[in-house]
Symmetry: C2
Subunit: 584 residues, 2 copies
């Protein structure tokens, strides 16, 4: 308990503006530790069941306490429509659907909280509440797109989870939920904690108006792709944002990074570094593109629906990152190479059960000086912004964005991967025939290095493009990148479905292969066959489909189409980029 | 001169059975060194022009001296038909064509050797002789599939080159050459060295009868693909052979490996290691598949002709290699990491101008303990065979076969890649629209790590396959591999053009990713749709096309088809493997 308390005090120091007292942090930590941990006096008073932190009722009460519970849906709804409605909302239907869970259904029975609590496992049935609705999700639970997470709410309220994971607040999901409705919840037993604690979203930073949100809470947004290839280093305020949880508020003077190498071979004692200490380590700068595992997912969705945010081709950016090298820190601690070990990262962003966002990478990558893994404090020569992990994030060049943990608070050397949802049950690839009935996340490897990809940034789909009157060509521009430090060797363009290919000019850094972590921008002059130009002048459609494909230094090439790489999570969407334009 | 002589004596020690006296070695070396080197007495006597080793006439005389010159073609022809004719030969036409160059053409003028010698550059015209034919190849030279090599024979005889590169001895090439014929060569000025020196092919080893030659001289052969996936470690005698030149004869007691690190940062003095000394270094074993850059070229040829040996899918094998680690040797010599440097390897196999086979890899790969580069003396726990580089070859795991130099005699750390033909003007990839008119080898990167690939080994194309009566499936088996140490994560099979995919079971070593150099064998049960089984029983064709595709640990996947990865050299042929079978 003492250790837990110390850690809570430390977290409290890190996040003084989150209105959470140390004992609240301790409770959160308790909920994440083994059953051998026992709660102390104050927790007992507030919740007699606290000493068995695994119980669903406890998570229910705690979660509701933290994020608002019953009534929050309504508050949120009214606020929502008094401010800026999302573009994708159909106000009529969805506004009505948003009232269902706070409206009693007279055709259905009423249940007590205790009755709901008893239905917290597949063999007992899985019930959840949302507002005052009671829902039987036993059948649905195993198909839940978010995986096991739904079990955290089994026998309790989903309100605090949905307050975080707002991708649930769509007409489709609300309709699905209402179809599981079996009754109404008796009484209002849950305190409205909204006012006491503030919304977890109250401290979100301001964002650039050009960032197009794929979701607002958590905030996930990409810049307009037409601007993306204009600058080799993506401007910080235009860099795509991929948050899994609310943005934590960290105070630099109080920031501490805990480095636990005791699980490694010859690892040293626990090390705690302040921001000043990290900045005092030898500074190292690396150019690296960071790409979301779901970049270009929207194109894959055209084949068949997938679960995930509908990213365009803008969930990538290229920046110059500066910080201390993780390999220096680990070696200084005495950590020896071991092929079966991992380095686990935790962020200060916490989910409703107080689990931090987490991910891991192989120790071999972390220890390799050519791996260039950084404890980064600067992005394009400026301090990180809050959306990009201020004050410290880990940069794992060549590796999927999800492992580049932001708001880094803890590093552990361990003989296993991170047990976080995002490492275990997300960001993995599957065969096109694997569906939500057959998927087994434990059988697939977590994405680390990303495959080769490219995208056409200009012209945009549907754009009217002027053919150069002298040269008979159009100019096409975009980016290309491959993971694992593999340099882009070539980008090929075609306007006739591959009958002829035209090699683009590359703009790239002169980094060595294997350590070439930045992206390549490319420009191609794509000749328009005379015949096609004539057809257009004669009043034909003048439509042209442009294809781009990149080749990396292992001579890997993008697959032609999405059909055969489709996967249920819509990750790794790296088929040829195809854009239809009109010749002007 | 002294140094040259020493090196020649050393080479002579290495290859006592090649009938070459030290002065002959010295002459060879001389031909490969800068113009500042000057010949000594004996060479002067034999060839007054020897002191200007760059002259074409000298190479002509020397080359002819070495390999046989005039008359060899005829000798070779008669021998050929008295032994085993190649399958692809059309005896009538080709036998006649093989006589053309030793038959005077009365309709054409006669030229002196000196006249031929004057035509040795594009601006003066490029003439060559073959037998007693004189040919003007000025126009053809720039389209020569072998690149600049043709210029080595400019103004002189091609006979010694064709004796090595016997891919020229086809009806097509002989017809092309005769179309350039402009005259007859006066007199017989070239000594017949055949008897003095023996054919360079006289010392070739015995090979296993099951190895199917794609070419006999140099020997290039693959095992039947149907046997390839039977054993995880390919039996040594069944391992594909890719020789670029005649197999040298090296005596283990005399073998020496020269290691020149003086070009590297903090490199040490010249080091010479005997075989015993190499074996005394710490022994390291690594499982690695070696794959020819042209593996599966024959499938690419189906799209459009390419230049290169017609390999099936058997130009790959998997073995356990043992030897000393190159990184240990280089570090012991003090070599420091440097991202812009390379390690150059030379073999004891020499071309007609005495240039050794050569290749290079980045220094970063050579110095990386995870790179596992070996000075290998054992293959599957047995000493290397002569065809696989006895007594020492370098094993560069994860990298195209061409860099795994056999009969290794010299290692150099340098600030540039190997200047060998095979590094500079071969084993590179190009866009599908690059042809022999537009290709610029200097603009493409030498292949190092190979892309992900897979092949179906059984059933064979056209085979009648029995559907399992209970399960309604057929069993499909093959291999998959990716370069750069990337592990195979998954192999997907389809029998309905990708409408449904079935994941294969993998057999692979438990090596860590990034260091997973061995191949993966796989077995899949491919369900046959009931409908198709019925159709077959009703007398339908019962034909089934099976596709296989592999996914590596960077989630790179094979491209669907060859059309968009076609390249003029037919390398990197890693599209889906597609095999049509008949259901029995």
């Amino acid at each position: 308990m003492r250790l837990l308390w110390q850690r809570a005090v430390r977290l409290q120091k890190l996040m003084p503006q989150t209105h959470l007292a140390p004992h609240t942090h301790a409770r959160r930590l308790l909920a994440t530790t083994s059953a051998s941990a026992r709660g102390g006096g104050q927790e007992e008073k507030e919740n007699p069941k606290w000493s068995s932190p695994g119980s669903k009722a406890e998570i229910f009460l705690y979660g509701a306490f933290w994020a608002g519970g019953l009534g929050l849906g309504y508050v949120w709804l009214t606020r929502r429509y008094s401010s800026t409605p999302d573009e994708e909302v159909k106000p009529d239907d969805e506004a009505v659907a948003r009232l269902w869970h706070i409206t009693p259904r007279k055709d259905l029975p009423t249940y007590k909280t205790e009755q709901v609590e008893q239905h917290n496992a597949p063999d007992k049935g899985i019930w959840v509440t949302y507002g005052l609705g009671v829902y039987d999700v036993t059948e649905f639970a195993e198909n839940h797109p978010g995986g096991d997470k739904i079990m955290m709410a089994a026998g309790s309220a989903i309100d605090p989870f949905w307050a975080i994971y707002q991708q649930h607040n769509t007409l489709e999901v609300l309709e699905l939920l209402e179809s599981f409705r079996i009754g109404n919840l008796e009484g209002l037993t849950v305190p409205n904690a909204e006012e006491e604690l503030g919304s977890p979203w109250a401290q979100e930073p301001e964002r650039h108006a050009l960032l197009k949100p794929a979701s607002k809470r958590p905030f996930n947004a990409e810049p307009p792709i037409g601007l993306l290839a204009e600058k080799f280093y993506t401007p910080n305020e235009m860099f795509y944002v991929r948050n899994h949880l609310p943005v934590p508020v960290l105070v630099p003077e109080e920031y501490e990074l805990e480095i636990d190498t005791s699980g490694g071979e010859q690892g040293g004692p626990l090390l705690t570094l302040t921001l000043a200490q990290i900045k005092a380590l030898p500074r190292h700068t690396v150019t690296a593109a960071i790409m979301c595992g779901g970049n270009r997912r929207s194109e894959m969705t055209d084949i068949k629906a997938v679960k995930g945010l509908s990213w365009g081709a803008g969930a990538v950016g290229n920046a110059k990152w500066s910080g201390a090298r993780l390999c220096d820190v680990l070696r200084e601690q005495g950590v020896q190479p071991n092929e079966s070990m991992h380095v686990i990262f935790e962020g200060a962003d916490l989910d409703p059960t107080s689990h931090p966002y987490g991910a891991s990478i192989p120790l071999s990558k972390a220890l390799d000086p050519r791996g260039d893994v950084l404890l980064a404090y600067e992005m394009n020569d400026e301090p990180l912004t809050r959306d990009h992990g201020y004050p410290i994030r880990v940069i794992v060049p060549g590796v999927v964005g999800a492992r580049n943990v932001k708001w880094l608070t803890r590093i552990m050397v361990a003989d296993h991967e991170s047990d976080s949802h995002w490492q275990q049950n997300d960001y993995k690839g599957f065969s096109p025939s694997t569906d939500w009935d057959t998927v087994d996340f434990s059988k697939a490897e977590a994405i680390q290095a990303m495959p080769v990809t490219s995208a056409i940034c200009t012209p945009l789909p549907g754009e009217r493009v002027k053919v150069d009157p002298q040269g008979g060509y159009i100019t096409v521009r975009g980016y290309a990148w491959s993971g694992g430090g593999r340099k882009i060797l070539r980008v090929d363009l075609t306007g006739d479905e591959g009958k002829t290919w035209h090699v683009a000019e590359l703009e790239q850094e002169d980094s060595p292969d294997g350590r070439h972590y930045g992206w390549s921008l490319w420009t191609a002059r794509l000749p328009i066959p005379e015949e096609q130009q004539q057809r257009r002048k004669a009043g034909g459609s003048g439509e042209l489909e442009i294809w781009a494909k990149a080749v990396d230094s292992a001579y890997n090439v993008q697959p032609e189409k999405f059909e055969h790489i489709w996967n249920l999570r819509g990750v790794l969407a790296n088929a040829y980029h195809k854009v239809k334009v009109k010749l002007a």
